[in-house]
Symmetry: C2
Subunit: 138 residues, 2 copies
């Protein structure tokens, strides 16, 4: 495990609990994003659904993970890069959903493009989700 789960929790002033360790561990040990359902399945069994919801919510608030909207109406969560601080979230990269393996990737190096919006529209945040075939499924 590249980064220590406990350290991440401490750095965000979160108490260290079993569910937080396990859920954060899941994010660290695989490349893609996870939906709430994935976590319940992969978590090795027994977690109360409520605990998972609340843990994810806490992680999002602390800026440890961020949400990714997808077309199939299931919110997915992915780890944030280090420069995400609480309340100040840098999520300016593109997301990629593979239609074959259904994994969602954060393309951290692909920056959200600029947009010319019609007069009067002011955008504060732009979300880009690309769909297609990933490098592993080709």
């Amino acid at each position: 495990m590249a980064k220590d789960v406990k350290e991440i929790l401490k750095n965000n002033s979160l108490s260290i609990t079993g569910s937080r360790e396990k859920i954060l561990g899941l994010f660290l040990e695989q490349p893609g994003a996870l939906a709430h359902g994935d976590i319940e399945k992969r978590a090795g069994e027994k977690f109360d659904r409520v605990t998972v919801y609340r843990t994810l919510q806490t992680f999002v608030e602390k800026g440890i993970i961020h949400t990714i909207p997808t077309a199939d109406n299931s919110i997915r969560y992915a780890l944030c890069k280090d420069d995400c601080k609480e309340g100040h979230h840098h999520d300016h990269h593109v997301h990629f959903v593979c239609t074959q393996c259904n994994i969602t990737y954060c393309l951290d190096d692909v920056v959200t493009p600029e947009l010319k919006l019609p007069k009067g529209y002011i955008s504060t945040h732009i979300e880009v989700v690309a769909e297609g075939i990933c490098k592993n499924c080709k």
Copy 2:
């Protein structure tokens, strides 16, 4: 009403029914996108939820409306432009969600930008959702 509801239904070889007329009418008489919940509320009362779901599904299949993914996990639907044919859907424009009035607009004139993806990734569809303040709320 700019366009005749019945005509649109006929052009897509759909039978003309009360619910289809009313739901399609809702889309025509307002600029933004509608979520399933909006439709149930605005439909002037009594519609079975199942009927609304099935009607929306039918409209999507026929290419009359398209779906817009949003961050809050509620699928919204909006009218397609005329050049959407069944099975061959042109949805290359950007969507805009106003954080104030919560209306979702189709910015038909703002084309989805090109993206340089990492090697190995092949994208078939790109979805762009901008968030901010719309021209009416400014």
